[in-house]
Amino acid sequence: MRMFDVCIIGGGPAGLKAAIAAGSQGLSVVLMDDADHLGGQLVKQTHMFFGSEQQRAGARGVNIAKELVEQVTSLVNVEVVLCTTALGLYDDLVLTYETEGSYRKLSAKKFIVATGASERMLTFPGNDLPGVYGAGAVQTLMNVYGVKPGNRVLMVGAGNIGLIVSYQLLQAGVEVIAIVEGGPSIGGYLVHASKVRRAGVPILTSHTIKEAVGVNCVEGAIVCELDSQWQPKSGTEQRIDADVICLAVGLSPLTDILWQAECEMVFVPELGGNVAYRDSTMCTSKPHIYVAGDVAGVEEASSAMVEGELAGLCAAKSLGVSGAHLTLQITSARSQLEELRSGPVGDKIRAGLLQAHR
């Protein structure tokens, strides 16, 4: 069985940064991802990112991914394995995984779980019709494979993902009929809302989808207004013709492997669902398992990168790497996270983290 110092599960921004951090300390690192490329969600993000210069604000997600992948591949002590799915993580430091149809094992002293998040579904009649997509799927089709999902889209959800995917649909020449949002106000950044609105997309707050209409595939949707108790107002139903209903109603941390490994978990709505308890080094209740990125709480690529770096550095420290520089890097990562989460849009994350830290 092959042995490594650090094994990182998931090659999104969190996993990539963790690999760079641990790899730069000279440790032997393996980075695995179930996709056929590294980058995670970043490869689909064609828009410019927020954050500050340290997290590459102003750069497009896809370009950030390229830079991180280059850094990882330049480290000879970091091995990248793609098309490989982590399956089970055990107390004897063994990870089982599937690759090319075979079931294998490896061992590492520390594991960093950076598996990201999965999309939430919404229940309504007709939600199983072809043409009902998650926003991530629409983005993958368009921005990774260059395939239009349809011609007339109803977007459900006015958080950042719903707003950004609407904008990218417009850029691909797809009509977005409307964005419906159950809440009384737009959840995403208002600058994103303004840019889709001026491109002609109405944003209907306090509205939701009641049902999808269609025989063999989506032909339209019934939307209705909601009152302040989130109850449908009778008589407000209207039919919207559309061939795609795109759901952007949130993400939940992808924690299967943490449950299986029996990390202590806690349900924190502010972080998107169940997450592992972690300490200030991103270490879970299992001393050999660290978490970073959306799996530790659904947030942003900017914070995922810094968390990944922090987890990588702290894992290295726990393996005996030391020095003033390492301490400095750890302090800097912590203060970057604090800064990113300091504003009003960080209120929720801060409240969530209080419940997940110990």
């Binding site: 500050s52 850029q171 950044y189 609105r197 001026r198 800064e339 300091s342 504003g343 849009v345």
Partner: protein, 166 residues
């Protein structure tokens, strides 16, 4: 209301509009950014330090029109596409507006395009005067359009021709 519709109110806009005196002196940026979000490329990209360095990354940009020359570098760098440059001195009856634009095909100078408001309404026509799309702008083109004076503060988007028109 901005938080419900994505369209800023006249009061919000009045707060970010440069003074009349400054507008009368030529091209100047208008920063239509009203929410505390973790973002600062406007400040870090402005070569003239007209947008003050942020103390906290969540600050709303603080802008000094006297230092701004309307170069539009911030227009291409703002991930929110929330900055525009207005030049009311362009000609006696037209205002020049520099807008961020990320759709293909890009219009060419000389094209007449549809002028669109913040709410997405078609409000008239605009004449494309120049299109800036250098590699450093990383695919956020800055389109300069001339519009009748009355539209200078209203136009925030254009509909150009082509298959992927917005």
């Amino acid at each position: 209301m901005l938080k419900k519709t994505g369209v800023a109110t006249p009061e919000e806009l009045a707060n970010v509009l440069p003074s009349e005196g400054r507008l009368n002196r030529g091209a100047v940026a208008v920063l239509e950014c009203f929410q505390n979000i973790p973002c600062n490329p406007c400040a870090t990209s402005c070569p003239r330090h007209a947008i003050q360095e942020f103390v906290d990354i969540n600050d709303i940009p603080s802008f000094d029109g006297d230092l701004c020359n309307g170069c539009a570098i911030c227009v291409a760098n703002c991930p929110g596409l929330a900055i525009f440059v207005i030049d009311e001195t362009y000609s006696p009856d037209e205002t020049l507006v520099k807008l961020p634009y990320e759709f293909t095909p890009l219009p060419a100078s000389g094209d007449v395009v549809v002028a669109v408001s913040r709410a997405g309404d078609e409000i008239g026509h605009a004449r494309v005067v120049r299109v800036q799309n250098p590699p450093v702008f990383d695919r956020t083109a800055v389109v300069h359009v001339a519009v009748p004076k009355a539209l200078g503060h209203e136009i925030r988007f254009i509909k150009a021709g082509g298959p992927s028109r917005a």
